[in-house]
Amino acid sequence: MDNIILVVILPLLAAFLMPVMARTSEVLARVTGLSVLFVSIVIILSVWGTVDKQAVSFAIGGYRPPLGIVFYIDQLSLLFALAIPVMVLLFWPWNKVTHIREYSLLMLLTASASGLVLSGDLFNIYVFYELLAVASYGLVAVQGRSGQKSEGAALAASLRYLILGTVGSVMMLIGIAIIYTQVGTLNLAHLSLLAPEKLNNVAGLSAFALILIGVGVKAELFPVNSWVPEVYGAVSTRLSALMAGLLSKLAVIVIIRLLVLLFPQPEALQLMAILGMLGVITGELVAWRSKDMIRMLSFSSIGQLGLVFVAFSIPGDIGLMAGFAVALHHLLVKPALFMLAGGWSGPLKNLSGVAKQSPYIAALFVLLIMSLLGVPPLPGFWAKLLIVMNLASQSAPVYSFALAFVLIATVIEAAYLYRVVMILYKQPQPDREPQQSRQKNHKFADLSIASAVAVILVVVVLQIQPMEKKLTSMAQQTGDRQHYINTVFSKLNLTDLKSQSQERQHLVEEKEVQGSK
């Protein structure tokens, strides 16, 4: 189990070695990157299933928690630790023109993302989050070089993303400072042990709000998502797919971990519900007005992430389960849609009659958007049903509003997706013919990704019972605070930890006495 740390270390090493290797042999550098990804996948698969009953944690370097840094592995973190290398592999730029630094940045992204989901330490999460942020700014900025997109747009989008992202990181840092002032520790399990008495107050709530907004920049949360259309419009669809599919979910996972472990107050959930439903409604409204596919998908992604936040804001394990369902569904479907949209750039009205030319692609697209919309019996329907049912059963007024917003947003979503389908299946007009022939063709790799996702969706429909069981057990494990604490501190006496914190409290009081003298 200890070798799981390699999924962070190997890509990190590769990221910095690859540019050096490329000086002697470019092929060697690329092969190194790919093999590191394969090794990561094998490592994760070798421990797959061992944490179903009991999560595992280990202290890095042998320093014991709470001062030592721990990795915490449960079903949730293992699932995402697997999803990261798999998705990076899927969206690996295979062509020969890509500069080596893009591969290097992708490895950095893999390393930091894996660290982010595995880490059990608040400050470590901050460091990995920043690394992830820097890697993604870099990836956005280099896009202009290796594609047909305008270089200036990629740079400007990257800078605007960087400024917003850095403000977010500073907010997160201030949130961490507040938490440290209140509790005096950074280990998540230790924090969780002390949170009910020390963070269940206004200071704790403000720390949560700061962290929510700060990390929310990556998760496309409502007030801090202005970068989304700019970045997705300026970069290749491959990177958009990776960012919308994977990176946004990682940020969500971080928020959920902190929410479950540190912030017991119901106001925290309600804050998330409010921001989530505003995201749903604004995202879907702008998507409705957008004139091209990529922009529509970007804003629909904001809406879907809002839905994820609404789902997670439902109290209890059932909310976690609904959240995982809709997040994982979006993780699969949105990249596939971006891959299909890659071949359909240009205004939507130019797409009329495309279904005649390429019936298979059009059918695939319809299947995917039907699942995104939630047409039964596709998986998206079950995810949305779970949210709607549980929102309806909540008594707090904010959840009734959320329910209304989610339903309205679904109608809007249906309206614009239906419009696209109508355009696709319209009879092609003769005068449009030359324009269509200028449409780029879909790459085979893009199509196979989308097809694979469609197959997965169908399999999920057939296997809905085991999926539900798996999600329930994942939600229960994630929602179990005591399990987390016991796992990390299995060898330590919990009363010792409480007394340590009391000692600090004592010192602080002593200091105040001295100060008043």
């Binding site: 800078l159 960087l162 403000v167 500073v170 950074l186 990529i294 750039s345 240009g346 200091k511 100060g515």
Partner: protein, 165 residues
Amino acid sequence: MSMPGIEIVLYTGAIGLTVIGLAGLLMVRNVFRMLLALVILEAGASLLLILSGFWETGVAPIILSGLSGNTPGQLMNDPVPQALVLTAIVIGVGVQALALALILRIKYQYNTLDMDKIRQQLEHDIASNAGVASPASAQSPDSLALARSGSMESAALATGDKHNG
């Protein structure tokens, strides 16, 4: 409870720096000045973090005489936030360097440092990437300026390549 004087000064300074940074980000349009505001904002946050482990009467967190070192009455400052701030500063410097590099490249490309103009140009470029004409650029007086900067862009590109080579 009364707080020691120096702490009030430090807290005021930290919050003041944060506010100055945020205000700068909201009010300034020049991207380089926005970056400077970001630096100030980060400094404020770092100071806040340091203060979470700072006691006015505290001594340096170094154990001098054996493990039972610190004499009663002498409190150590908490070393953990200091280590964290060190990390945060290093990350901050990295991000600022990246931002500076981006600003330089944008200057070559768009020939402006004004955030509003950069945003307009960005929207224009995204729209033309997607093949959808931007609705604003058709009527706005900036469309002329954009067309001009387009020709300058190619010149700037040449300079940029020279710099790179």
